[in-house]
């Protein structure tokens, strides 16, 4: 069957190729573009709906789907790996044309990705890279995120700052690859900066209250500390609160990262809560996802045959370089996203 489909597709391409030059005066996209997308079914299994990253992707993807006439089916496993596996399984049964899976770590969904590819479904993984190649991966390079955090530390506490170079690190969940890879990036980059000393390295489980508690203890113990590095803006609001409470805002740099959502990023940078922010720009990621959808549905490769990565370009934001377009909001995305 596959071979026949391919032959038909090849024949169609030949005809299109022959027909191409004849209609060359017409510069508008070929009807092939619209036909490739119209009426298609795309499954999306996020880690959970209801937070910045997944909501932004969904908004951007649904905008394009509405414009081009295809359907996005969202199955929300709400942070549960088991529910995620069930959601992917049921989607595979429904045979969508393309399946987008947000990995919860670098391992749990490996078999599901293989199963989806074996079922002949174009499969895309996001945010967390697994060792199993699929048709595309879209997400940040977490190691680069870590190296970038060190850049923030050096700016605030390095040789030229005249400060003592003491920093504390408050990680996410210790077992999460996003946290592990960022930490590896930090360790790697810190080798070039012996002037920076890490006086405390703790994990707050992506939780603002825990981050706050650790930060208050760290500030109490090291009131002369120069900076605190967190791994996720939403949790690091807790670090900012602790710094404010200790009357050290402006004296202790808060270095963080995340989606670049206006509420959790730019508003807090403007308020002086965060001093250095690395954004993987979820609005841009939504556009990347849409580009992957458009590309794969037009080229229709054999699932899993030509894997590629779209690594999210990072944006470094601080109070001085921040512009109105440094961050995004869901309302804006509903209007212009994707």
């Amino acid at each position: 069957m596959k071979i026949i489909t391919k032959l038909v597709a090849a024949a169609a391409l030949c005809i299109a190729g022959v027909a191409g030059p004849a209609g060359a005066q017409d510069a508008s996209p070929s009807s092939g573009f619209y036909n490739a997308l119209k009426g298609k079914k795309i499954g999306f299994v996020p880690i959970a709906m209801g937070f910045n990253e997944t909501q932004a992707w969904r908004t951007a993807m649904e905008r394009q789907a509405a414009a081009l006439g295809y359907e996005i089916i969202v199955r929300d496993p709400n942070w549960s790996i088991e529910a995620g596996i069930q959601a992917i399984n049921s989607l595979i049964e429904e045979k969508p044309d393309l399946l987008i899976i947000e990995n919860i770590d670098n391992r749990s969904y490996n078999r599901m990705v293989q199963k989806s590819i074996a079922a002949g479904i174009l499969t895309v993984q996001t945010q967390q890279r697994s060792e199993i190649p699929s048709d595309a991966y879209m997400g940040p390079d977490w190691n680069e995120m870590g190296r970038n955090a060190v850049e923030g530390m050096v700016q605030a506490c390095g040789k030229e700052s005249g400060k003592n170079g003491k920093v504390a690190i408050i990680q996410g969940a210790l077992t999460a690859p996003a946290s592990l890879l960022q930490m590896a990036g930090i360790d790697e980059a810190l080798k070039d900066h012996p002037e920076i000393t890490v006086v405390s390295n703790q994990a707050a489980d992506w939780d603002a209250t825990k981050a706050y508690q650790i930060a208050t203890t760290v500030l109490q113990q090291n009131p002369d500390i120069c900076g605190i590095v967190g791994f996720w803006d939403v949790a690091d609001a807790g670090i900012a609160s602790a710094v404010k409470e200790a009357n050290l805002q402006g004296k202790v740099a808060v270095i963080t990262s995340g989606s670049g959502a206006r509420e959790s990023a730019c508003d807090k940078i403007a308020a002086g809560d965060f001093s250095y922010y690395t954004s993987y720009n979820t609005a841009g990621q939504g556009r990347d996802l849409n580009a992957i959808i458009r590309t794969l549905l037009q080229t229709m490769p054999e699932p899993g045959s030509k894997p590629f990565d779209l690594v999210s370009p990072l944006i470094r934001i601080n109070k001085d370089n921040m512009t109105p377009s440094s961050c995004w909001s869901l309302e804006e995305l509903a209007q212009i996203g994707g």
Partner: protein
Amino acid sequence: MTRSRTKLTQARIVLGIAVLAFATFSVLVPDFLSAGNVSRLLQNVSILGILAMGMALSIIGRGIDLSMVASMAVSVAWMLAEMNAGASFAHAFGLALVFSIAVGVINGVLIAYVEIPPIFATLAMGTAIYGFGRVFLLASDVNYLPDDWQWLNMIATAAPLGIPVSVLCFAAVCGLAHLFLRGTREGRYIHMMGDNPQAARITGVPIRPMIVGQYVLTSLVALVAGLLMAALVATMNTRIVGSTYVYDIILVAVLGGISLSGGRGGAGSVIVGTLLIGILLNGMTMMNLGYTTQNVIKALILLAALTIDSLVNPRDEQTSQQGDI
């Protein structure tokens, strides 16, 4: 209520271990003893302590409230969402208050009148509350304190006379709970119900309405803790519902000697349990011990406390017959 005052009760054992831990950290960790650190130490466990006090109110009456974290997160997140949508503080707070009371009443009715065991009723309610909140009330998991209301953050992070506001709240909640449990008729009823529900009913305690009241109180204490949490870190992330936080809360309550079979313990037990956890967390963070190491040490010390209690105070006829929950 058979333990005499001179006996080595669980609360006293835990207090002893807390003192021991405090002394150990004072030697091992420089600055541990400073006034600033002791107040931070208390501040960091205040919210946990308040929640444990609320949980204790349920447990003493031979119940348990596993929906407490969901009730706290959803009511406060809804309040923040309403404030972000432009509602006044009074309006938004009123909604959260009504929501909390409604949760308590539903819990109470399910347990007292429909007669579902508390552990199942509140377990299901926790999921229902979160689902209801996410479907009907909240657009996203994380809800921020609006800019106009940052003064709430200022109040929550203030420290009049060097005592952080959260510690004052914890003290106030414990004080009120103590007055309620020891000083009012209803408070004594809760103890009686926990000790022996049948006997309490025969002596004329209105058991069913009391159970409803007990869960409303627990839910209201959860609201207080939630307000403090949201004001302290300027956000409320409803994801906390899926965490193991509720077990930490139960642990703190049980650790200090609130028996899961009901009828035992009071505000003092919660304070002692909270102190031990606070000292351990603070000391180990200052020693910069790893997360997993911290968890292992914490678990071992908790097991030690429970083992000593089990050896010193062997189970009596009643608990061995009815089990713990």
